[in-house]
Amino acid sequence: MIKLEMKGILKEFPGVRALNDVTFTANKGEVLALLGENGAGKSTLMKILSGVYPYGTYEGDILVDGKVCQFANTRAAEHAGIAIIHQELNLIPGLSIAENVFLGREPKKFGTVDWKRMHRETQALLNRLRLPFRPTDLVMTLSVGQQQMIEIAKAISIQAQILVLDEPTSALTDSEVEKLFDVIRELRAEGVTMIYISHKMDEIETICDSITVLRDGTSVGSAATRDVTRNELIAMMVGRDISQMFPKVVSEPGEVLLAIKDYSVKKSTDGFLLHNVNLDVRAGEVVGLAGLMGAGRTELVMSLFGALGLKAEGIVEVGGRAVNIQTPRDAIQAGLALVTEDRKESGLVLSLSVRENTSLVSLRSLSSRLGILDHKQESVLAQRYIEELRTKTPSAEVNVNNLSGGNQQKVVLAKWLATNPKVLILDEPTRGIDVGAKVEIYQLINQLTAAGHAVIMISSELPEVLGMSDRIFVMSEGRIAGELSRADATQESIMKLATKGA
């Protein structure tokens, strides 16, 4: 039975046609995957469905249960039984979990907020999702993944007939993903129609019943999941064949470029954030850093980079020389580069152009000793990296805000490559990036190691860690739980170490 139908959807933004005649249907009680490259128009389509772009700003029809719907705002879509979990977190950090879950729909008693009921219902939701929080906990005390779970709780609480999940797992741990899938299965059993957007093919195969693929704002095909192979899907998405997902080139490791010995960071008087970490990376080598979310991987690299703000003990050697890194500036001078986890929050200056972002770290070397910029050299640099990384942008002068996720990530990479670092640290470098761009980034990593750089790659996607690393360190609770060689590493062996002691 057809629950939802979107017909001939056309949406234009000034200067771009984001959607051009998209049509798809979803049945009652089915999980439909929406696939497509970055910028294919998935989120835009879902924003139309959920009333973010109101009726009148797009062309085409939305049919729910065969009836045409014209939503004036998100509230109207909610009334029609449509809930959405947006790609970006949409929580208010200073409010409690309960307040966030019920934002805009607070239960009221005598015109005032009925706190008791709100907390009771939130607690019930939290129990259902098996989340160990209290309704009064502030959202800002939660990790990104935990916040994403709250978003899911919020969407569920609407008790929608149609639930859209736009990349819900990009910040979730495996166990959280499992919890989410359990919930999805329950909802499916209850007859809820779900639209699931993700760049992770494993997940799609696990949870989705059917698939619709978008390319350049057009729907290029639909199929039942069991009827298509992964390669067919990828070809449909990117318009070409990707023969090898992980084009790993194993090169001969050289000298040790980064060595960390007995590295510890105290959280407070009682506990350690990082405890006796020992780790080394050689030239031409990719070292994977695996672990569960909250294992301390980000803390480790941020601390190494002088950006954690907590005192560290231990020895750090870069290129054989002991260094004392207090600020990111020291780290950059020592030859480190860090591509942070969240490109929008800490990677890019969105108000600046591609050129200006590319040159930001190496600006000092692009200027005279008195700090006067050499604009020509700067432009050359930006242009060079646009070409080398094949960044899709109209020009170097475009605001970086206007690029798609994958291309933004390339700008971040360009920024760091321009410093010619000895050791490049990548924290979740492919989060939220489509398959095509992922492969390009993997190829880039290969080029780097071939040129004698050392790479540390943090990733929560085990296939990626397994596919790209020469050696893998597994972290658990701020310690190194073990080291695995490429040959020994399997999903099971990593998970075993990661959950050790947890």
Binding site: V52, N73, T74, R75, E78, H86, L89, N90, L91, I92, P93, G94, L95, E99, L103, G104, R105, E106, K108, G111, T112, V113, W115, K116, H119, R134, T136, L138, M140, T141, L142, S143, K267, S268, A307, L308, G309, L310, S346
Partner: protein, 378 residues
């Protein structure tokens, strides 16, 4: 506003309650310290008469700070309130001939219109609040001067205005009111304690607020009772606390200030709520205008000059973040008291008037510094 500090001191997970505690303390500690210093500075400080005076003197700033806190919570600012105090005072003075109720209504309507004007530009046309209300600051002052022709407008002999401005609620009624207030706050506090499942934080807040009311009771009852003007102020402050803690409107203000986009996507009507908050602020400024006019017995078209800065200072000293999303009316009231006590002791201590400027600037910085330090404490 934007420094790298945010990086280094991300909130500890779970440890927040402890921090909040320290945080709430910090402003109270500042107040307590000032209180103690004031005690040493002058023996007259802790006398009921002087304490009553202080509450009279901060009433106007306190009322403005309630509105300002709400505005700042949304990430905005209202620089126009000082001029609005001046303008509405003049309007009260000029319409007094029509009777008390019409005059007060006219004044409040003027406040509503000003608020709507601000809201039009801020919510509808997305003009930065700083600019929209900066414009209003000049415009309202111009109207005040134009309407009054630059001259103060005296209030005619009128029992109501006189009582409102300078009268006291008779002692025994004051006692009853304070008693009721005590019970009310106890009730609200208890509800909030329960809501927060009796966290240390909430229990301390409960005890402190009851102690505070005790102090007020002592000072009013051993002098002449509660001034009517302070009564108005207290009602407004309680209204503000109620709005921010008990109504959806209040929640939405925090939500808009915390993340306007998220609030919008959650179906919160950002424009409508922004409009409401700027109207509230302007109406509170009109009430402040009425209060001030009845207190001094006449309306000065130049009155209220730079009051907006004191109101912002009160809010920020009280822990409200200028970036929006964080803050409480209770904090702002403590902030207003800090500023009021400071002004009071500088005069009690006969400080060189020029140094008073310097002290005031230093104290504002120090109070916020204390707050910041505590927020960063690990």
């Amino acid at each position: 506003m934007k420094t790298e500090a945010g990086l280094q001191v991300e909130p500890l997970r779970g440890g927040l309650n402890g921090r909040q505690l320290l945080n709430r303390y910090s402003t109270l500690i500042a107040l307590a310290v000032l209180f103690i210093i004031a005690n040493f500075v002058s023996e007259f400080f802790v006398q009921p008469q002087n304490l009553t005076n202080i509450t009279l003197q901060i009433a106007v700033n306190g009322i403005l700070a309630v509105g300002m806190t709400m505005v700042i919570l949304t990430g905005g600012i209202d620089l126009g309130v000082g001029s609005v105090v001046g303008l509405t005072g003049v309007i009260l003075g000029m319409t007094q001939g029509y009777g008390v109720v019409p005059a007060i209504l006219a004044t409040l309507v003027c406040g509503v219109l000003i608020g709507l004007w601000n809201a039009l530009f801020i919510a509808r046309f997305n003009i930065p609040p700083f600019i929209a209300t900066l414009g209003m600051m000049t415009i309202a002052r111009g109207f005040a001067l134009y309407l009054s022709n630059g001259a103060a407008v005296a209030l005619d002999e009128n029992k109501f205005y006189e009582q409102l401005g300078t009268g006291f609620l008779p002692i025994h009624i004051s006692a009853v009111v304070l008693g009721v207030l005590f019970l009310f706050v106890a009730f609200i506090g208890f509800k909030s304690m329960r809501q927060k499942s009796f966290s240390v934080d909430s229990v301390i807040a409960f005890v402190l607020s009851l102690a505070g009311i005790g102090l007020f009771a002592w000072m009013y009852l051993s002098y002449q009772g509660i001034p009517y003007l302070v009564l108005v102020f207290a009602v407004i402050a309680l209204w503000g606390i109620w709005v921010l803690t008990q109504t959806t409107f209040g929640r939405y203000l925090y939500a808009i200030g915390g993340n306007a986009k998220a609030a919008y996507l959650s179906g919160v009507s950002v424009k409508k709520n922004l409009a409401k908050v700027y109207v509230s602020s302007a109406v509170l400024a009109s009430i402040a205008g009425i209060i001030m006019t009845t207190r001094v017995g006449s309306a000065d078209p130049n009155g209220g000059n730079s009051f907006e800065l004191d109101a912002v200072a009160a809010a920020v000293i009280g822990g409200t973040s200028l970036a929006g999303g964080y803050g409480t009316i209770g904090g702002a009231m403590i902030g207003a008291f800090i500023i009021g006590i400071l002004n009071n002791i500088l005069i009690l201590a006969n400080v060189n008037p020029y140094f008073q400027f310097i002290f005031k600037g230093l104290i504002i910085i120090a109070a916020v510094l204390l707050d910041m330090k505590n927020k960063q404490q690990k």
